[in-house]
Symmetry: C2
Subunit: 327 residues, 2 copies
């Protein structure tokens, strides 16, 4: 899979048909406590309830289900901090193709186990020493496997966008029209797909990406107009959002559609995880909680507004979760 | 509120209209992992996502919204291990009535805090020494407050049944018809309301109540045909399910409609809470997890069947939850 042209809304709509019956149509839920706290109406799209515990299955299945197993005797290969790994492993299993995934050696156990349980072969790397994309590319060539990018491919972006399509349909069922949308951002595939979907259906909607504060590559890239690189590769609890820089394709979409980028601290993320535990009764991983953190910390004024909020994943180890509850 | 005639399906339908826009229409969700594990199709109704974190708001609002504030200058009074307390406090707040709630002194902090935050006055009692119903009755008389039973009143039972009505509608939207339903059982109000709703819409459906193993009053009562009392008043982690015996009204319904009663151990409940954390990404309290525990522990054979599963609440303190994750 080489980078191609950015996907369009029609690609999101096609992905939605492809995913029907395979991905979970996650519900749209509300919390009176959250609404009261921010003074607006928050429509929560909990992608932690998605197959494999994160939105990533959407893009992975959309991409992999289009491949011919005959053409790729080695199946698929990918590199991922964990959630894309799980999504690819599960999609490959459903499509009866082998999967080889390059994952950081410090990935949460739950993500490693879940990927292995879906039948994938895992090869670990060191975040600081190794080039994970090179490892995955070498494997692809050696095994005749199709490389599945974590974010920089039209099928991946379009697949992630199906969550936004559902969200807008579910809001419409409630006769609501979101004024703005907030979603987590690592490489930018989710927010790009969401933006494609929601801006097509509601051109005035404001779309905000949310990043961990030391991984604000999208914030700086949007300012400069160029893809900027993060100065560090680790150090945030948001293990899912540590991509080194915006994707090439995703940035073409995001630089066009994003209203802005918000950043949150690890402490704000911990607060959001505790809030989700106490008030929403949802399990969120750090990277899945950044948009909620931005909202709870008042980084965006939403008084009197209708806000769509994507919670992107819930794959967190029990000991880390317990530690956050106790902190 | 003195015990009256048992409610009917029509009362559940009326309650559903009364709750529209006030209670959360909780989604119906599925987990591929759970389906694969039990070999059936499990439709999960997560009432932990309900207002105040448990199904109890349904019955409380249905009952309290029918009261005249003029007739009850002292508002409402109730006794509750915690979730009914929260439901009554929130419903009274919305109906602009004062609420006084008698709660056990060892109730989880989250339930005490949540009830207080909704504006109720809390009076604590000792589970072993005090008669909570007598305390609440005395308060009702002294203050001119209407006593809101935790389960033994037609409006409460009908309100809880709205969850079953939604569940059947949501299953129908998926063109599915559950073969059986499992739900937690303390005083029996939830399972009675659910049974009223689902048996009316689908007379062949099997309905199972699930109890903690030392609090199997419904299991024994169904066997003997008489309301049997539990021999202990505490000692299970399922703090929400420690009612001393079946309600009078609820037993009239349950003895007619229940297919059977299943019991689960505390360890099976802990396993279910961990499963919900890891696989469903939902926070469950012990009492809210018993039906899932029964399913996961194989207490009912569901291979090839469609199972409706009610997860009734998620109000658990962080330190208890952390302890369960670590155990």
């Amino acid at each position: 899979m080489e980078p191609q042209k950015p996907p369009t809304f029609d690609d999101v709509a096609s992905a939605s048909k492809r995913l029907s019956g395979m991905a979970v149509r996650t519900p749209l839920i509300e919390s009176g406590v959250l609404n009261a706290k921010v003074g607006g109406r928050v429509l929560i799209k909990p992608e932690n309830l998605q197959r494999m515990g994160a939105f990533k299955f959407r893009g992975a299945y959309n991409a992999i289900s289009r491949l011919s197993a005959d053409q790729w005797p080695g199946g698929v290969a990918a590199c991922s901090s964990g959630n894309h790994a799980g999504g690819v492993a599960e999609a490959a299993r459903l499509c009866k193709m082998p999967a080889t995934i390059v994952m950081p050696e410090d990935a949460p156990d739950i993500k490693l186990e879940r990927t292995r349980a879906a039948g994938a072969e895992i090869i670990t790397y060191n975040r600081h020493k190794d080039n994970r994309e090179q490892i995955a590319a070498d494997i692809s060539v050696a095994r005749g496997a199709c490389y599945i990018s974590p974010y920089d491919h039209p099928d991946i972006i379009a697949g992630q966008g199906t969550s936004g399509l559902e969200l807008m349909q579910q809001a419409e069922d409630l006769e609501l029209k979101p004024d703005c949308l907030l979603a987590p951002c690592g490489g930018g595939g989710l927010i790009a797909g969401l933006a494609l979907a929601v801006k097509h259906l509601s051109p005035d909607i404001e779309v905000y990406a949310v990043e961990p504060e030391d991984f604000d590559d999208h914030a700086r890239s949007l300012s400069s107009g160029e893809r900027e690189r993060n100065s560090v590769l680790s150090g945030s609890i948001c293990d899912a959002l540590l991509a080194p820089m915006p994707g090439e394709l995703t940035f073409q979409i995001n630089s066009k559609f994003l209203t802005g980028v918000l950043t949150v601290s690890d402490d704000e993320v911990r607060d959001a995880i505790r809030f989700a535990f106490n008030e929403l009764k949802l399990v969120l991983e750090p990277g899945g909680a950044v948009a909620l953190a931005a909202l709870l910390s008042g980084h965006l004024e939403v008084k009197g507004r209708t806000v769509a909020l994507v919670l992107s994943g819930g794959n967190i180890d029990g000991d880390q979760f317990a530690g956050i509850l106790a902190s």
